[in-house]
């Protein structure tokens, strides 16, 4: 599954990325393989989402979250 499919309050561990260019940016922001993420909230209009990763809160669009593969 990927990060955009996570339900609010659920956690997952990052496994891999499907988009290399995007992955560079995501990794710089602390989204690394092996890192645990938790879906904190979804914006009122359904997109973007906010996750907790590496001890802080990060927001990203669903289409960006979909490039992050999780193992659950």
């Amino acid at each position: 599954m990927n990060l955009s499919e996570l339900a609010v309050g659920d956690c997952g561990t990052i496994l891999d990325f499907t988009d290399q260019e995007m992955s560079v940016k995501l990794m710089e922001m602390g989204c690394l393989p092996g890192e645990q993420v938790k879906l904190e909230q979804v914006a009122p209009l359904g997109d973007p989402i906010a996750i907790t990763v590496a001890g802080y809160k990060l927001s990203l669009r669903k289409q960006e979250a979909a490039t992050i593969l999780l193992k659950k």
Partner: protein, 704 residues
Amino acid sequence: MSEQLKVALIGNPNTGKSTLFNDLTGLNQKVGNFPGVTVDKKTGNAKLPNGHSVEIIDLPGIYSLYAKSRDEQIAFEVLYDRKGKLRPDLVIVVADASNLKRNLLLYTQVADLNIPVILVLNMIDVAESNGLKIDINKLSNKLGIRVVAVNARQNKGVDELKQAIADATRVATQLRTIKVEELAPELIGEISEKFAVSSPYEALQLAHQHENLSSLSSEQSDLIESLEQKHSFHSSSNQAKETVARYNFINDLLFDCVKQDESAAGETFSNRIDKVLTHRFFGLIIFVLILFLVFQSIFTFAEYPMSFIETLFLDIEQGLAKILPDGVFTNLLINGVVAGLSGVLVFLPQIVILFFFISVLEDTGYMARVTFMMDKLMRKVGLNGKSVVPLISGVACAVPAIMATRTIESWKDRVITILVTPLMSCSARLPVYTLLISLVVPETKVLGFLSLQGLALLSMYLIGFFAAIGAAWVMKRIVRSRERGYFIMELPIYRMPRWSHIGLQMYEKAKTFVTEAGKVIIAVSVILWVLSTYGPSDSMKAIDTKYETLAKTTSNNAKLLEQEKSAEKLEASYAGILGRTIEPVIKPLGYDWKIGIALITSFAAREVFVGTMATIYSVEGEGDDLVSVRQKLASAKNPETGLPVFTVATAFSLMLFYAFAMQCVSTIAIVYRETKSIKWPLIQLTYMTVLAYVASLIAFQLLK
């Protein structure tokens, strides 16, 4: 010391870097420009315990040396450019102690550049309250550098940091973090041979960033490019490898130096606030209420200082007229320069109030949530969550609003935001709307309590907003861009606003507005003064003679004669001639040549419209007295048809014209400065003029 030591502050956004900069330098700072980019270059002097003073440079907040936007580029450029005036002798990396893992990525990159470095752990109070125990001595030993814990908000640890700066050596002491050479051994080797680099990592950075570095010649850049091809170097996969290696280093480091007290974990205060402020339903309602409060404040609180400034300038004008001898120079000073200055300063209260609110909302962390909530909506029309702040600011003035687009990383989103922001109804349109509405909309109440005039004004604001949204939607399809838009953004924790920081922000915005908008408006005011004062000398002389004889022969009131004379002179002036020239073009919109003159003179700034109308229709008393202008306009008749000039059709056509047309030279200037190209202001001027013309044409033809 022969030369002052240069110290650069670098760090992630939201680490309190600018607070620390203020703590170090006090008010002893300068704001300038980095060449080629729009980020402000802030420098200041800090006094050290040993009596020396050092120059501190505040670099833009970045997450990594790999820049995502042109503005971020400047950080590496400053660190790399040896010949540059700003190249620091010492770098202070500011890290958020409560969020060390991500913050240390930038540290490891900077450390590997082999420049002397000090690590500052800011917000140490937040880290402690989150249950993080950081062993600073151990961290310092493992990195081989001074590590200073600081709470910049309370000015704690700043003296220790100053001592650390004083103690710093000119030789880098830090231990290497990752084995950079292993990332691209041959390429790094060859670049290091051919370029003067101080570390293997600098060579690798050149490989990644050579295309964007202004200090490299194009031959040098081509050389690096060919070396990359020779060694089949792939920038993004290499960066991914590097980032993973760096985080491995950081994880090991933090495992040894940081302990998490589990009992303190759990739902943070910030998270609980977010549950309310970004709530599916209440989140949007709260946002609308905050917006309402902001606009209410702008218009109610600003009213008093604005009328004070207006009166003050009228007094100055009258005072100067008494003191100075009659003549061209006096006339230029009073009607050109002072009038122009007054036109700029009158908007200052609104801008200061607006930026008070925006700074508070940004500083507390709420603005990031607004961006988060609005992104989907904004993206649908080709904008970005971050376009919300510029659009809101546009209601006061487009000049600071366009400067506020700098936070938008995606170039396409930023350009579209810049192009549509001037459609938001700025405060300079307000006098125009007020005059025209009072002229044609009756003072009746709808449903017993809603004022019809108020509703008309509100619709003008809505028209501006929807025009901006619509224009963005169209441009999204036209503006081409190869880069991808990201919305990967940190949501910083909620904090109390720092009032001194907000005060400084307001001061800076006010100063930028006065200097940026001011110089343009004054320059154009002077030009327009010349156009409306001078005309072909024959006709001007004829008017002079005519009124001289009239004054002798008739017993008419001298003041009235004077007014009629200036109206007639305006007709004969170059501005008047221009007005007559464009009459055929504007006639289908319902305007005569007199309105044409006002369109021309208000090109500098929209509110000039009212003053010009006052002069053309030779209004008695003070030029800005709205009631007298209105009466004159209401009784104005078209000499050919004998019908009133200002019908509902003409007034609405004019209001739409002012809603859409780019009648503001300062905005054109600022768009030019922010986009660094003549192309965008020209496109903007063209589309807005066409939109204004078509909308006014349709309105007039339908309503007449």
